[in-house]
Structure formats: structure tokens, C-alpha cells
């Protein structure tokens, strides 16, 4: 096949999905109430993004980024400190692993008691989940710094502090970005769930849930689609930042 067409290959999958969807609704294979045609859903998406859905979209972005930012500010320095001292990490490893494995959604009731039903609860539960993911990855990145590189710095007369900032920090960056990408994805999941249930007035989760309750299926699909686009977009943005700042990653 001609190489020029290769960048367009992903479009085939998207077109195929819409074609199947369209065929299914046109042939009335599915109840039209449960699955509206792609045009109806698209219309709802387009109109929604210029109105209420757009507002919910921005709200969810804000909460997700807030949670991720808080998590990063706490987890990155902590991860470096933990990773730099193998003994410290080993003694906390179980605790970190345990909470990393605990579904953050199980923490909602606790955080509700602590922070009430406002934004703080959603953001802090999401931050809690993201912190552990980022922390784990940063510490791992620091611990797995190439021994040769650390030795090289030591041989050139670098002090322990210098080795930490000149070598370990950079060595951990690729893994840190893995943590950030996983962290932001997890934060989005938690935020959307939180928006559905804890006395929420806005956000994509609220939008999906409300549309479903009122049986406005096109609107529900539009909101689901918006959430998907947001997740994909956030991941992409972090990847682009990573490529720019961690240019040596994987080379």
C-alpha cells in the first residue's frame, strides 16, 4: 500500500464504527430509544457543547486537572525522597501498594465526612488516587536509575545531593510521566463517578446520569462521547508534553 495513506488508517476504524452504528439503527436492529442514530447523537453533542454540556465539560476538566496538579505537587517530591532511599521505600512499600490497590471510590464516604458534598470531596478523592499512582511511578523511576550513570556522576566528583538533582531526577522523568498519564486517567474516572452520585449539580458524570434518568438518550450518548474525548485528549496532551521535555525517553 502507498505510504502516503498510512496516517489516515485510523480513520477507517472510526468510519467503520459509525457505519455499523448507522446500519444497526437504520435496520432497526436495536430499540431506537436505547440507541439513537449517530446523527441524533451527533446533533445532541453539537448543541450540548454550545450549552449545558460544554459547561459540564469545563467543570470536569477543571476538577480533573486540579486533582492531578495537587497529586503531582505532593507525589513527585515524595516519590524522589522515597526512591532515593531504598530502605525508606521498602518500609513503606506495603502501605503504598495497599492503598494503591484500594479502589479510591471506597474512600468517598470517608471524604464526604471530612469535606462535605462540595468540590473538595471530589477533587480530594481523585487526588488521593492519583497521588499513589504518581508516587509509585516516581519512586520506581528514581530507584531504577541506571547504576552506571550514578557511578559516572560519582566518579566525576558529584556529591550525593548533586547526584540526586543532576542524575536521579532526570532518570526518573520518563517514569514520572507514565505516572502522570496514569494519574490523570484515574483522576478523570474518579471525578466522573463522583459527579454522578455525590449530590452533584454539574460535570460530565452528572450530565450522563441526568440524561439517563430523564431518558434523553441522544444527550446521554453525547455526554459519554464528551467524556471519552476528554480522556483521550488529556492523555494526548501529557504525551506531547512528555515528548517535548523528556526527548531522550526510549532512545
Amino acid at each position: 500500500m502507498n505510504k502516503k495513506f498510512e496516517p489516515f488508517l485510523p480513520i477507517i476504524g472510526v468510519a467503520g464504527l459509525f457505519a455499523v452504528w448507522f446500519a444497526a439503527t437504520a435496520a432497526k436492529l436495536v430499540d431506537p430509544v436505547l440507541l439513537p442514530s449517530p446523527f441524533e447523537a451527533g446533533k445532541a453533542f453539537w448543541q450540548g457543547m454550545h450549552g449545558a454540556l460544554g459547561f459540564d465539560f469545563v467543570k470536569t476538566i477543571y476538577r480533573t486537572l486540579m486533582a492531578t496538579a495537587i497529586a503531582a505537587v505532593i507525589a513527585i517530591p515524595l516519590g524522589i525522597v522515597l526512591g532515593a532511599s531504598e530502605k525508606l521505600y521498602r518500609s513503606l512499600e506495603f502501605v503504598i501498594d495497599f492503598f494503591r490497590s484500594t479502589p479510591a471510590s471506597a474512600m468517598f464516604p470517608l471524604f464526604l465526612v471530612l469535606f462535605g458534598v462540595g468540590d473538595e470531596t471530589k477533587i480530594s478523592v481523585a487526588a488521593f488516587g492519583a497521588i499513589l499512582v504518581i508516587l509509585f511511578n516516581v519512586a520506581y523511576g528514581v530507584m531504577n536509575a541506571r547504576k552506571t550513570r550514578l557511578l559516572a556522576a560519582k566518579v566525576m566528583g558529584a556529591s550525593r545531593l548533586r547526584v540526586l538533582f543532576d542524575v536521579m531526577l532526570f532518570e526518573s522523568l520518563p517514569q514520572t510521566f507514565v505516572g502522570l498519564r496514569n494519574g490523570v486517567s484515574l483522576a478523570l474516572v474518579i471525578i466522573v463517578v463522583a459527579e454522578m452520585f455525590i449530590g452533584s449539580q454539574d460535570g460530565l458524570g452528572h450530565s450522563v446520569f441526568e440524561a439517563q434518568q430523564m431518558f434523553e438518550m441522544p444527550r446521554m450518548y453525547a455526554a459519554i462521547f464528551a467524556a471519552g474525548a476528554l480522556g483521550y485528549g488529556l492523555n494526548l496532551i501529557f504525551l506531547l508534553i512528555e515528548r517535548r521535555f523528556v526527548h531522550w525517553s526510549g532512545k
Binding site: 566518579v155 558529584a158 543532576d166 542524575v167 522523568l173 532512545k251
Partner: protein, 275 residues
């Protein structure tokens, strides 16, 4: 072999000896060096003098302790016992360079080649302007044509190793350690790098200790080949290589060179068989 025999052997090959007095003042003196890893005794009361301004190749059976020796001299791993002095001084009082086998993992990929080379000067608290000037001076002196604005991962293996050798040389070290520096390069690049190293050695006169697993390379580059026995490692021979510098392809077929190489091979095989 005990210390006295060792001294005799050194004398028999015409090399400075701690007992009979130096023919030429040794640069590095190693006395009573001992090192064990778990149950394995790698060095037991090991003595060696490294002559000043010479290139010494270290050759011996796999796992006999070649890397361990230069890593102990360069302070990368601690000694169990013994003393290593440089003109009577300790390691932290002298400037030295170390070139790793694995250049890919020894250079800093987040820095451009130029900054990699200048990095040791930063560790010596040299000011930025001076760092730049000294690095530029070294590059000009070596006459190496390389785009130093590239990142290491944008360079070939040989170029990367050249950068790490320059990084080791920028501090104007009194002694340079190289642990199998060319073994990760392809043959063509290896031949090129041998010439580069010989040129650097002739230009700078820096004492160099080179670990090599290629006997021809070891002999070709060396003033003396240090042949080690299986561990606990002893000096099996300290062979003088007389061929004049610069050595070239013609040197490889020179009768004296071939004889020296054959002698080293013989000693090596004797040590390998003595399991």
C-alpha cells in the same frame, strides 16, 4: 607467588620493583590489596606498581578480577584491605578520569554532547565561561570533528564513546581508567577508536590503565601488558611492549610485536589451564 618472587619477576621483565628501587618513579603503588566477594577471594595481598606516563593493558581470564582491580583503583568499589597511592597521595587528592564500557548508560542523554563533556568541570566548581573555554580548548586540541550540539542518542556508538573519553579528559586527569571501552563497538569503529586513543595518549602523556579482552588490542596499545592469573589474581607477567609509537598496521606484523603477543598468549594459556 609471594611478594619477593613477584619483585623478582618484575625485575626479570625489566620493570620498576618496590624492592630493588625504581628504574623510574612509579605513578601508582598498590600494596597488600585484598578483596573478596562472598566466598570468592578475588585479590589476596596483591602488589603492583604502575609506571608513570605509560599505557598499561590489563589482560586475563574471564572473571579474574580485571574490572574489580581498576574499579578499586578508581574508588568505585571499596577495598577490603591494602593501600593504593598515587605519588603517595590518596585518590581524593588527584584528578582522574574513568571511561565505562557501556557509553550508552554512562553519558547523560538529557544533555548535549558538549555539556556532557563539560560536566566534570561543573563538579570542580569551575565557572560556566571557563568551563566552555576549557571544553572548546580540549576539542580543538584533539582535532575531533564532531557536532557537539547533538544529544548522545543522536550519535553513533563510536562518537558516543569518543564523547565519554573527552569527558574523562577534560579535567586534565593525571590518570585515566578505561574498562573495555571499545567492546560495544563494531569492528570498524573499534579500529578507528584505537587510533584515537593512541593519539590521545601520545599527545597527553597521561598514565592510562586499559582493560581489554582482545589480546592484539591489549598489546598494540600498551607499553606494558599486565597479565593476571585466575582469581585470587596474581601478576602472571608484566610484559614490556617495545614497539615504537605511533604504532600502525605495519606494527601488527613486525617480528618483535608478534613475539611479544605470542609470549602473552603463552602466559595466558598457562594461567587458563592451571584451573
Amino acid at each position: 607467588m609471594n611478594a619477593a618472587q613477584h619483585a623478582l619477576r618484575l625485575q626479570s621483565t625489566g620493570v620498576p620493583s618496590p624492592v630493588t628501587g625504581a628504574l623510574r618513579r612509579p605513578h601508582v603503588t598498590i600494596r597488600g590489596l585484598s578483596k573478596t566477594f562472598g566466598k570468592a577471594v578475588i585479590y589476596d595481598n596483591f602488589d603492583l606498581d604502575i609506571p608513570r606516563g605509560e599505557l598499561i593493558s590489563v589482560f586475563g581470564p574471564n572473571g579474574c578480577g580485571k574490572s574489580t582491580l581498576i574499579n578499586m583503583i578508581a574508588g568505585l568499589i571499596p577495598v577490603d584491605a591494602g593501600e593504593i597511592l598515587f605519588d603517595g597521595m590518596r585518590l581524593d587528592e588527584i584528578k582522574f578520569g574513568y571511561v565505562f564500557q557501556n557509553y550508552r548508560e554512562a553519558l547523560f542523554p538529557w544533555m548535549r554532547a558538549f555539556d556532557n563533556i563539560a560536566y566534570p568541570l561543573k563538579m570542580m566548581n569551575v565557572l560556566p565561561a571557563e568551563r566552555k573555554a576549557r571544553t572548546e580548548r580540549l576539542v580543538a586540541h584533539l582535532g575531533i570533528k564532531l557536532d557537539l550540539n547533538l544529544y548522545p542518542y543522536q550519535m553513533s556508538g563510536g562518537q558516543q564513546q569518543l564523547v565519554s573519553i573527552m569527558r574523562a579528559l577534560v579535567v586534565e586527569p593525571e590518570i585515566l581508567f578505561l574498562d573495555e571501552p571499545f567492546s560495544a563497538l563494531d569492528y570498524e569503529m573499534t579500529l578507528f577508536m584505537r587510533e584515537q586513543l593512541q593519539k590521545l595518549f601520545m599527545d597527553s602523556g597521561t598514565t592510562m590503565v586499559l582493560v581489554s579482552h582482545d589480546l592484539e588490542e591489549a598489546v598494540y596499545l600498551a607499553d606494558h601488558v599486565l597479565l593476571l592469573s585466575r582469581h585470587p589474581a596474581q601478576v602472571a607477567d608484566f610484559t614490556l611492549v617495545e614497539a615504537a609509537r605511533p604504532r600502525t598496521d605495519a606494527t601488527l606484523s613486525d617480528a618483535g610485536f608478534v613475539r611479544t603477543k605470542a609470549h602473552c598468549l603463552e602466559v595466558f594459556q598457562r594461567e587458563v589451564r592451571r584451573a
